[in-house]
Each structure stands twice: as C-alpha cells, then as structure tokens.
Symmetry: D2
Subunit: 362 residues, 4 copies
C-alpha cells in the first residue's frame, strides 16, 4: 500500500503509463469550491515540459471529472479525475520487456511484484503518474492562494550550471516564476541550462539538477512536532516522485561546514513584529513554520533513460545484454519535476492547514 | 497530532525535557520477543554522546517497562517504556522563559501553542525526547538483525572535516561502526573531527556535520511505490529529529552536476545473481530496495545553543535583548544524532517489512 | 474525509448516483491474483436484487478496469474499477431538489455541504455507491476463499416474518446461501417474506429486516484487542451502508435478559481440539476470533422512500409541503444490503488477515 | 496493532490488569486547556461501580500526569496519564494460568499470542484497561461541554428488567443521569435492577443488560458519509470494550418488524426551524447528525466470570477440567460499562468535531 496519502485530505493516485487511464481521487475537500479548470489544464501543460527540450510523449492530458463536482462546485464528497491514455503503443515493449533498464524501477518492481508488474513504460512507476498529482496540486494551490499562501519554484542548477541569484522579494518572485515555462531567477542562466539539456540530448545523454522551492504561509502556523514536522511531511510527499534523490531545508547540506555563530537566525523587532534577518533554517524551526518563507532544495537525478548503449541483464534468459533506450524520453526531467514538486508541496501544506484549522475554515 | 507514527508498528512518543518523565509506546510488535535490555541501555548510553565532547546534562537514562513485557517476553500488546526525568532544575528557566533562543523551536512553539508550551529546556522539542526513540529503535534493530537486516552509520563530516574513505565490505563496516563511540571510517579523521568539536566548545561556538547511514536488507524487498517509498518513509521518520536539515540517497546532491552516462547503475550477472557494479542510487529504485546496500546522508546543523552573545527578542516585554545561552548543551550533536538516525531507520524499515511480510513472520 | 478505509488494504470509493461514474480503488492487493471477472459481474447482479420485488433502476452494472490489472493478473499497484452511470435522467430532480425526503440524507447532506451536495438521487449517499463496494468485496472473497475463509448471509427477518431455523453445517449452509437469490434457511419463510415485500410495494409502503451473517475463518486468528477488534472492524465497515441501524454479535441483544450461567460458552475437547459446544459469543472473544464461526446480525430499516404522502419541508421556500416519492425505489433493500454486508465483511476480515499475516502470504 | 485510535485526536491505551501500570496518551489536543482533575477522579470513581453491587477489586485509581500538562494547562503536545497497579497479587494466577475461563479472552489471546500473553487477570483484555479510557473520555467531555455538546447514558435493562420510560427533556435528563451513581430514568426500576444484580451475585451468577446513550450535538454537524459515519465511528470505539456485543441506533432492531410508513421521520417547521417530530433514526441520517439527539443502545453480556462451576479445558495438560472463578469480579458490569461508553462516545464525537472544525476552533 502506498498510493494513498494524507490525514485530513486524502489523495489516492492510480494508473499506469500504458494502461487504460490514470487518475486520482481527493477525499476531504470542503464543499462549495469553484475550481479553475483552465488553471488545471495549464498546470498539466507545464508538467509536459518545454517542447524544444523534449523528445518525449506529448499527448495533451485531457481530464474528465468523474465525481464530486456538481454545478460548478465541489460537493464535499470524493472528487475523482481521470485521464485516458491515448498515445499508447504497447507493442514496442514486447521485445524489451525482460531487459532491465538501468536506473529505473524495472528490477525492483520485478522483485516486488514477481513478474506481474505492468512493464510497459514503467507502469505505475512512470513519470506519467505525476499528471494526476499535478491536478490535485493545482486544486490545493487554488485553495491555499485564497488564504494568501503561495508556492513557487525555480531551477537552481542543471548539470553544474548554477543560478546563484538571491531572492529579494519572495512574493513577486513566486508570481514571476509561476508565469515562466522554464523558471529561473536569472534568464541568462536559463539559456545556458537549456543549452546544456539540448547538448545532452544530442549526445544521447541526460542531465540532473536542483529545484529550489519557496512557500509563503501568510500568518498560518503549520506543522507539528516530530513526525508531522513540515520537513517530514514535505519530504514524504516529494520523495514519491521518481528521480528525486535528496531534499534539504534552508542552508541544507551547507550546514555541515558551518559554525553555529555563522548560521544563527537572530531575532529582531521590525515594525513591532518579530522577524529574523537571516533565514538559514528555511522558515521552519522544530518542524513548525516560523512565518519566514519556507525554502527547500530538491535534487533530481539525470534521466535514467539514455540513448547510449548500456550494459544490463535479460532476466528471463539470464544473460548479460546491451541496451540503448529507444523511443520517447526526456534528457532532463527537472523542469517537469518542478511542477510536481509545487503540486506536492501544496498538498502537504494543505493537509497540515486542515489539521490545525479544520475543513470548515479553509 | 504528530508524535505517533507507523502503519503496522505504531510508535507513540511523549514527554518533555523537564517534565516528570519521557517515554514511548510501541503498538504492533509480535509476542514472544525476548528483548536484550542490556543492549537498550547501551544504545541509550551511546545517545548521550562522548563525555569529553559534551558539557551537557549527563543523567543516566534508567528506563522502566510499564506494560507489554511479561516473563521475559513481549506479550504482543502495547509495550510501554518510561524514563523519569531526574536531573531537573526548572528554576533556571524562569529568567529567560520569554527570551527566544535563536535557531530553537521557542518562537514557533510559542506561535503554535500560544504561550502554553512547556518552555523548560525546549519541552517536547528537546533532544531529550530522542531517548525513547532510541529505546524503540533498539528493539527494532534486534528484530531486524534476526532477519539478517543490519544498520550502521558513520560521521562523514564535521565542520568541513571530511572523511572521504569508501566502504569495501558493508557488513564488516556496519559491525565495526556499531562498536565505536565516535564512528568514522578513518580514525585519524575522527580525531580531527573531535578536535574541531572541542575547539568550537572552547570558543563558545558549535559545529554541524553529516552522518552517512548504511542498511543491508538481506533478501527482503522493502518499500512501496509513491508515498511509502523507502525514501519517503525514512525521511518522514528522520526529519522528526530537531537539527536535521537535509537527507539524500546515493549520490544525492551530486546528481545535480552529473550526466546520466556518468551515474548509470548498469546491471551484470555475478555468480548468476543480478547486481550493479555501482550503487549511485543508494540501494533504492522506484522507492523499492534493489538488494544493494541502502546508503543515505543526513545533515545536522550546528547546535543552536551557543555560549556567544546573540541578539534576540523578549516577546513578553516586546523588546530586543541579548542572550548568551548558559547551562548544559552540546557543541555538536552529530554523534548523538547518529544513534537516533540508526534507531529511526530501523523503525522505518521494520514498518515496511511488517507491511509486506506480516507480523506473524517477523 | 471518509470514503477511504483500511490499514493494509485501502479501499477508496467514489461517485454519485447520477454523476458520470462510480468506482473504487483498491490499494494494497498482492500482485499475481487472477480475478474471476465473471464472479464480480454475478455479485453485481445479485446486488441489484430480485426483479419481481423491485421497481427500482435496473441498469446492468458494466464495469471497466482502469488500472492495476495486466495480462489477466493484478499488478500489485492500485486496482481501479469504474462503472459509468447510464440510465440517468436528472431532469426529474429539478422540481423536488429543495424538498427534503424524510429518512434520507437530504437534510444532513444539506447541513454539512451547505447546499453544494449533488442532490440527484441521493448523490454520494445513494445505495448505488454500494456497487463498487460489491466489486471490491468480490475480490476480497476470492482471496479469502483461497485461504479457506468463507462468508455467507441469510435473511433472518422481514417485517416481523422470522426464519427461526438453526444452522447445522455452516460450511454447507454458506455454500447454499451463496447460490440463492433470496437467501434464507427456510424456503417457505422465504416465500412469506417475499409476499410481505410485494404487499408493502402494493400499498406504497416499505419494510425492514435482519440479515444474519456467517464467516468461517479456518485456522486464522483474526482481530486485535481494543480498537481493531473484529467487532470494531466489521461494524465500522458495515455502518457505512445507508439503512443499517444496528449490529450485534452472537446472542446480541438477547444477552440483556440472560444470566451468565445460561450463556456460558464452556470449552471441551473434541478429537483433541478445544471447542465450545455453544457459540453464544458469535465466534469472537476479546475482539479476536475463537475459531468458531463468526455470527452476527445486521438490522436494516424500511426504505425511507415510500409512495405514500409524507409531510416535509421545502427548505428554500421555508414552508411545509407534502411529498410522495415517485420514480424508482425498492420497497425493501434487505436482499440487496445482504450482498453488500457480505462484501464489507470480506474486506474487513481481509484487512485483519493482512495485518497479521502480511501481503506476501495471502 | 489496535490500541491506538483516532484521526485528529489520537488515543493510545496501554497496560495490563496486573502489570506495573496502565495509562494512555492523547495526541492532538489543543494547548491551553485547563483540565478539571477533580472531575477526572470522579469519573474514575464512577467507573468502579457501586460498592454494594460488586465484590470486585476496589483500588482507588490514583493517576499521575507524566507529560503534556504544564502550569495548569495542556501544552498541546502529547498528554500522558499513568495509574500504578497496586492491589496486585499475581500468585493467585499461578494455579489457573493454563485453564481457559469460558467467555473470556483467555483462549483467543492464547491463540493469537502463542502463550506469551500476560494471563494475570486478563492482562490487556481486562476491564481495568478501561480506566485510562475514562480519563481520556473525561477530558473529551470537558472540551465538548464547552461547545454545548453533552453526553449521558442510562441503564435501560438488566436481566430482563426494563425501564421503559421515555425522555421528555434530553438536556435535563443528561444532567440528571450524570449525577446518579446508578443512572436510570425510573428510580423504582433502578431498585429492581439492583436487586436483580444482588440476587445474581448471591447465586454465584451474573447478569447482562442494555445501556441507552444520548448525545446532544448543539449546532454542530458531525459525521462523514460512509466509513466515518457517526455510527461507524461510535461503534468502532465502543466495540473495543470487552462484553459489548451489540450496538443499535434509534429504533435499532425494532426496525425489522416495521413498515416505512410507521417509522418515518417527517419534517416540520417549528419556530422557523426544520425539525422532526419523531427521531426513529436516532439523530443520524446518512451517517451525519441531523441536529436531533443522537440516541443509541449498547448491549453488554453477563459477566463471564461466575462462581458456579463451569466445564473447561487445561490447555497445557490437554484435559477437560472444572473451574469456578474465585476472587474478585462483578456480577454485572453494566453500570461500569456505562461510564466507559460515555467516555468513548465523547472521544468519537470529539475526533469528528476536530476533523470538521479544526484543532484551533475547539
């Protein structure tokens, strides 16, 4: 069990890359929400990434609402979305179904499901399954924005190309980032990064990167001590995404080389409000938001599917073989993953918000 | 809500630094386990860290079993441990109770609990609350070891001093690390790190660091797709520890500067078994263990309590004040945190094991 | 939140009577199960009740599997079923949408969802939503039967007509009951009951009744002390069905007029096995199965929809009005409810089985 | 796993009848609650039942608060209570530890825990474990009463002696019942019932009965469709009590002999408010409170421990033996169980209240 999560707002995600459909159910939403369906479509489009950077499957994700939405509002009972898989050609998998793609879940799914897993395009482990997450996250963002809680992310690094710009005005930055299709702080760096991705594609290779995420929680105090700390919650949600290999908050791994005196978040009074000059802790102390911006980094590994020849094993014939992954895949999933990270952050924060403030009050 | 976690093995942790007692309840253990109580005591001792590196409260953690243990075996019903807080002098907190300690949960607890939190020594947010976690983890480790699943950690970095040794034989290394009271791979680096900690203490400062953890899962296939991925599970547990600011698996944040071709975990057949030469993915693919060693890093920030004067706010009088934290605190909690990380890793893996294999079979 | 349940096998149910579709997701099934889809269809047919007793909507419930089933086996990842609502005419509800049907959830749904609920045919509160439960239950029964665990129910009472037969051979009885479309122990009583239902229909009225359920757990010891007692679990599942107003185990409410000496379940040795001559406790002691048959009663109220004129309120115009429910409804839902009770019992027992024995072992 | 329950307010109950201590942890309470500790003691006293009706263990339940309470208020972090077991003489169990007491959990605990259960006085299955539940429930009642939600119960039947009085004014009745130590509506019937209990005791026998519970929810709309229906929730909590064998809402099992036209809850307008003249549905429709009083019955079986000789089995020596239960036990646990039912009802309703209205708002 695993594809259902949340305490007050439960998200159930289902489907496989090449099955009949993918979808999700959100259970626990308040009634009377008018959803911006256009916005959901836009968020889905963004998840498909930039056309020029991708050779991947490009089908339009047309969703259908199956339940929980009536006369233009949520009913308060389970809200279900479905996207039919249309651009599916499962013949292409017949030849390679016993050949483990390095770095993918092929081997572990084989071990766990003992050969019964849907191997076509990664099945339930495919990045395609993030489409319903983006739908759910789009709704969560709409609810949070009504409360003045906003979320945005930027690409901070692609294959060593780092955008080291600092954020001055978080609110404006988040707004701007959410309008970009390749969100960075520095547009020159954006071009360098894109070139790096194109170069990788040309060389039948792939690249990884880092996404930096910001969330402004307005006056809401979110998070619980211990196991529902904001860090615990966000990381549990985000590590659900294939390719994510690390998460850090505030200074993150840079804390390892620091002294306490260098990274202290001293308090001061500004216009009678308690604030910190610095935000080394990324807006979270003791697992609870400090009213400063939540800031965290997520690292995404280079796409495991590459065109270059790799050594692997045919587990049926039990022999070593060579594989060069054909077909549609992205040389860099960082821009797509960024959208999913935003979605999951919204879902995590909304669940924490409901825990404290109640369904009636959101 | 937050201090209860787990699906098949629930852990409930309670208590405050200067309250009457701290403790935990484990619900879901099988009956008939004979616990090594000596081992639990040893693990608790290790959690208290090295005497020479610490000026902190040093009370011996004498635990009492209140329920669930009968005639030397677990009964199968809730197992409860209690440690009385003895070395408590709560007078010392009266003067400073309205002064926010930078980097601690004082401010966020104040916001969340509206002034009703137990402010003495950090209350429920104190590192002291990790003692019951270590008890629970010690039991989890005992159960896992019976199944051939072992866990160990080393200090990889303290304030920029890095131990860059590589592990050759994971099983031996884990065994060795579990016998060291300052576990590193390189004993010379260990001394440098200790000196760094002592120096920080002398300068009324503190330092952070990185713990690297290894888990060998034997033949067990653990983890679920999506929200109960091994990464989701481990990170949810470990981010419950105050001071942890990042977690990464395998190459972690180094993936950001890599190409797919550089970090591929190609498969080969060795003695007819499918293995990978490299383990860049840290033993997890698609959220499920690949039978390779699980490897992950946890970064711990420098202790927020430092002797140096810091600027802060007295929130009662609403004025800026200066604070130099007196009393007992560690200049570096990395060695202690390492023990708690081992404990939480064991609890996370045991819960996943029970999910798949059942209580009857562990 | 509420339409998701289960610890090791999670069931998510969604949909409304007159929405686009109804469906469910089962998360946590083992991989490699070959489902008897014919059996699922038959169980769905049974849920529609006897044609001669019903004037209700009779659409065939054609289901589609959207995910989790590949090459004739479960994949181990979420299994999703959908049934399109076809026989839907939502115009008929326009006139009466503000008129509260007595005994239905109209008023409480209005209070809770503040007018945003889907009022057509009861929306998410409709009996129609039990169709996906029957699908999920059919699968659970298939898994349990492989382990020798069988479940069956009989109609024990309809509007005062009681079938007071006793079960001699539970295994045979369960088998027989599962083949009947109006399952009773005494076929003469069955006819009397049917006549009672027909009479009620003719008089524009409805009747209630009692279902008695049996479950044989083979050698499996199911249930936990306290909150996951077999009684807690079964009742939580079964009270999800609209119309269920009481559940009792073993002698149930007859215990109130008994002395301990009259209802003792004394132990004896039969062929060296510990058994009880009587089974007043309905196969459960301390929340755990005693290896005797689980026996429990469920009472179902008379259908709230009746043709006779009832007094009620138009909450929009805030005035008292009269209502006679037109359209399709059953004079007695007991035979349908029986199928749903079997399904929910199977789901409850399977979740308990997985808790103890693990997914790998079912 | 099983002794932890609740979604927003988690209750963890632990301990055995003759272990060191029993206790509970409540996780999820808001901070700043000032608890009436005197009230908790009184509720614990009531749980011990009437002295004249009982030969049972009579130790005073002195509780200690171990965590979560500071300066006279809840802190918002886990609140833990402990009661030491003092009046314990475990020698008496040595002779009979292999002899199954009919009607108790001895046999099922033996099956489940394979001989490792704490057999002394029923261990974790003892009625003694209800003391921490009463503590938790007392707190829940205090919170609910602040919101105008009140709960009370009466003894409706003891061994066939029925109190058939009807409630006129629920609010006054609940107030009165909560002040009685043997709560009935009719005090003459109360005496008859007491005599029945005394007679049973004299004849080394025991008797069962029915408790009727009322809850007024003020203007709060509680409960969810399906699996968190008020009925699902209350029954899951209450079936945790040993001896409870049935629960029914409103007319309950009487619905089986009724027609729809006889039991309809028609709506009318009284002072512009929508009400029902009758309340056959016990204040719940579609799983959600209808603002009418919640009314439900719980049946409790005669105490399994009786002084009369019973046939049973010594499972160690595998032979049939005779047993007459010596020592301390109640001839009727109905009056005690009533207090526990009130407690569990309060906990169930509070969890539902928090789900909808949030921790901040209770």
């Amino acid at each position: 069990m695993s594809s259902i999560l949340g305490n007050n707002l439960k998200l159930s995600v289902w489907g496989e890359s090449h099955g009949k459909a993918i979808g999700c159910t959100l259970d626990g939403l308040p009634s009377g929400l008018s959803l911006d369906l256009e916005r959901i479509s836009k968020d889905l489009d963004k998840r498909r990434g930039l056309k020029e950077l991708s050779t991947a499957r490009r089908e339009k994700d047309q969703f259908e609402i199956l339940s929980g939405y009536f006369n233009g509002h949520t009913t308060g009972t389970p809200l279900t979305f479905m996207i039919r898989n249309e651009d599916v050609d499962d013949k292409v998998y017949d030849d390679t179904k016993n050949i483990l793609r390095p770095g993918h879940a092929d081997y572990t799914a084989f071990l766990k499901y003992e050969g019964y897993q849907d191997y076509r395009g990664g099945g339930h482990f495919s990045g395609r399954i993030t489409a319903p997450i983006v739908i759910a996250g789009s709704i969560a963002k709409q609810i949070l924005e009504e409360k003045g809680i906003v979320i945005g992310s930027r690409i901070k690094e692609i294959h060593g190309i780092k955008d080291e710009s600092k954020v001055e005005d978080y609110e404006k930055t988040i707004k701007d980032l959410n309008e970009l299709d390749f969100p960075t702080l520095d547009s020159i760096k954006a071009n360098e990064m894109k070139n790096e991705i194109i170069k990788a594609r040309e060389q039948l290779d792939s690249v990884g990167g880092i996404v930096e995420t910001y969330a402004l929680v307005n006056d809401y105090v979110l998070g619980e001590p211990m196991f529902d700390s904001v860090e615990s919650k966000i990381s549990q949600y985000i590590f659900s995404v294939g390719g994510v290999k690390g998460i850090s908050f505030g200074l993150g791994f840079d804390f390892a080389s620091k002294r306490g005196s260098e990274v202290k978040d001293e308090y001061e009074l500004v216009e009678n409000k308690i604030v910190t000059k610095n935000n080394n802790n990324g807006g979270i102390l003791g697992g609870i938001t400090s009213l400063q911006p939540i800031v965290f980094d997520t690292v995404i590994k280079p796409t495991a599917s590459i065109g270059q020849t790799q050594k692997t094993v045919d587990f049926k014939e039990n022999k070593e073989v060579e594989l060069s992954v054909k077909g549609r895949h992205d040389p860099c999933i960082v821009p797509k993953a960024l959208q999913v990270i935003n979605a999951l952050t919204a879902l995590a924060l909304l669940d924490l918000l409901m825990e404290e403030y109640g369904r009636k009050n959101i």
